[in-house]
């Protein structure tokens, strides 16, 4: 018989259930880490070693040659300037698209939740509907419209497309976040003499940091990973990194350079990866903050 008197903290015991939970978590982590491991290993090996077929093994003769080739001299069709061209194209598309779509979404969300515009709910409904229609439906009409106005195949064109398609999600995000802010704050600002823009910039925007971070993450990863809009609207001069990557991987002649493909892929994935690592904490917090009330 145990004479242990229950007092203070209850003792922790390692039960079978707990072991099972850890085992499952470990397997799941391994499952998702394995492809990354193979990619990194392959990119660091010379082709002779890859041909041996030990895809999981550590490289015997580690080399960064594939990485530098992928960045500056891999062939994307006829040109052989590596994926760096695409990287800078993507950056030039990304920065204005992210900034403009967030501004548009924030102003929209602010107007919809605070200013009680006539028909606001109908407008919001229509906007949301837009978010659920497959993009492919819009492609052809948009191409026609842009080519008629003469801005088809340009940086302006692709930025506009990203801003337009980002609007529903951005508006939803900001509207829900602003719905959670006390309406009395807005009333107080109106009595203090604030107008539409002064309340937005002086009172509401300074309180929007968490949702601004979330919006930046969503838009950055979304726009960076985009393929179809870039291919359709950007024009030959401005093709984003994703399109260039596809060209590198699919247009090799002779032996397939697996190490270069892997290195190029990882270079293309770098930006969203960094964004997640740097701001993961904010991301979770902001999603929760925006989702609670709506």
């Amino acid at each position: 018989m145990s004479t242990l008197v229950p007092q203070g903290r209850r003792p922790q015991r390692l039960t079978i259930g707990r072991i099972g939970v850890y085992a499952f978590l470990l397997t799941a982590a391994l499952f998702f880490l394995l492809p990354l491991w193979i990619m990194v290993m392959t990119s660091l090996k010379p082709m002779e070693e890859i041909r041996l077929g030990n895809i999981i093994a550590l490289p015997a003769a580690m080399t960064f040659e594939a990485w530098s080739k992928a960045w500056s001299s891999a062939c994307t069709g006829l040109e052989c300037n590596g994926i760096s061209v695409g990287f800078w194209n993507s950056v030039r598309i990304l920065i204005p698209s992210v900034i403009l779509s967030i501004i548009a979404g924030a102003v929209n969300g602010y107007a919809l939740s605070f200013w009680r515009v006539k028909g606001a709910n109908v407008m919001f409904g229509v906007l949301l509907l837009g978010a659920f229609i497959p993009y492919q439906v819009f492609l052809y009409p948009l191409v026609r419209i842009f080519s008629m106005t003469g801005i088809y195949n340009s940086l302006t064109c692709i930025v506009m497309v990203h801003v337009i398609f980002g609007l529903p999600t951005m508006t939803l995000l900001f509207r829900n976040y602003y719905a959670g802010l006390p309406i009395e704050l807005f009333k107080a600002a109106r009595i203090d003499g604030g107008g539409f823009w002064s309340i937005f910039f002086r009172v509401i925007l300074p309180m929007s940091t968490p949702i601004l971070v979330v919006a930046t993450i969503l838009q950055t990863t979304g726009i960076w990973n985009d393929f179809i809009f870039g291919l359709t609207f950007a024009g030959r001069e401005n093709l984003p990194m994703t399109v260039q990557l596809n060209n590198i991987v699919h247009s090799t002649q002779g032996e397939r350079a697996y190490n270069v493909d892997m290195a190029a892929t990882m270079l293309a994935a770098l930006v969203p990866l960094v964004v997640y690592f740097v701001s993961g904490r904010w991301f979770v917090r902001g999603i929760a903050a925006g989702a609670v009330k709506g």
């Binding site: 109106r190 009595i191 604030g194």
Partner: protein
């Protein structure tokens, strides 16, 4: 002259009509309290006066000017909210000066007014703090300060003390009253569901229920001469005792009769001509029931005794209906004890059982 005048105002939310032709006149320097249970429309009325809500019909006048179509900032009002509504990213000083900065007031003037308001509310040491570094009471003080610097003719308070604990509420209540006295000619419109706040602060109370004004009067009138059963029951704690019965003609005039209990009403100031046999409700405040050795109504049995320090509330039961008696704190009573109660007919209220209106 009245500073605030609400004339025949109708407010509608989409299809639902909130007010229908509501009118109210408030004189300069008056402290008006809008009192009622939640959902009675008191906050809606305040928002309509502030211009935060569009009226569907009617007019709103402030300081002799028709402001029905004016923006809130142009109405010469200041407002204090229940949730304080301080701008979280600004310091106390910036919070208080925000309105003046929006109006492009010269800097020295802003500083002067903020300093004066801070002095008045004793928040000068807090001026450089942020709202999240303040306690609830301090936050509400800052919110009042923000209203104060606007130098408005009319102050609107929307349940300003409801988020505070009981002790702070009492302190700030006194302070608001002191502020009103010190500002002199400032009109205050104050919304609350707390009848103690209403009784202590108001020059006149407007009791509302279901979007309608039930009674407008001084705290004294509201308490001692409630216009109907709702007002009588809503104001006063413990609640007024209601006893159902009917009027009967006896030799020396009308009497109230409930079961075998009887009360002569010859001293009662009837507002309308009553008729014998009419069904009525007799209202008696707990403090107007006196425990006497020889009184009108003998034989009440003590149910529960609630000692509250300064006074004691005794719950008595009787086949006719149970009543609460408020007596001094020193009066001891035991459950089961039999009491004789004395009722002063000049202190009671009589209501029609049918309409609930005062007779």
């Amino acid at each position: 002259m009245s500073t605030v005048s609400v004339r025949d105002v109708t407010v509608a939310f989409e299809a639902v009509q909130v007010f229908d032709g509501l009118s109210l006149d408030i004189s300069e320097g008056e402290f008006i309290v809008l009192l009622g249970p939640s959902g009675c429309g008191k906050s809606t009325l305040l928002n309509a006066i502030a211009g935060l809500l569009d009226v569907a019909e009617g007019q709103i006048w402030i300081n002799g000017k028709n402001v029905t179509w004016e923006e809130p900032k142009d109405r010469g009002i200041a407002m204090v909210f229940q949730s304080y509504a301080l701008y979280p990213r600004m310091s106390v000083r910036e919070n208080m000066s925000f309105g003046l900065r929006m109006a492009k007031t010269p800097k020295p003037e802003i500083e002067k007014r903020v300093a004066r308001a801070a002095e008045l509310l004793q928040i000068t040491p807090l001026l450089d703090r942020r709202p999240d570094q303040l306690s609830g009471g301090q936050r509400q003080r800052v919110a009042i300060g923000r209203a104060l610097v606007r130098d408005a003719a009319v102050f609107l308070f929307d349940e300003p003390l409801s988020n505070l604990d009981a002790k702070l509420r009492n302190e700030l209540r006194v302070e608001i009253k002191r502020l009103h006295a010190r500002l002199g000619k400032t009109t205050m419109v104050y919304v609350t569901h707390d009848q103690i706040e209403a009784m202590t602060l108001a020059d006149r109370i407007v009791v509302m229920k279901e979007q309608k004004i039930q009674q407008i009067g001084t705290p004294d009138e509201i308490y001692h001469r409630p216009a109907n059963l709702f007002v009588a029951g809503f104001v006063g704690s413990p609640q007024m005792n209601f006893i159902k019965g009917r009027l009967e003609n006896t030799g020396e005039g009308l009497s109230f009769l409930a079961g075998d209990r009887r009360l002569s009403l010859s001293a009662y100031p009837f507002a309308t001509a009553p008729s014998a046999g009419q069904e009525v409700v007799l209202g008696v405040r707990p403090e107007h029931l006196e425990i006497a050795s020889d009184g009108t109504w003998p034989g009440f049995k003590v149910d529960i005794v609630e000692p509250m320090g300064a006074d004691t509330v005794i719950w008595c039961s009787d086949p006719v209906g149970s009543v609460q008696v408020r007596t001094t704190g020193s009066r001891k009573a035991m459950p089961g004890e039999s009491l004789t109660l004395h009722v002063d007919p000049s202190q009671v209220s009589l209501f029609s059982a049918e309409t609930g209106e005062r007779l």
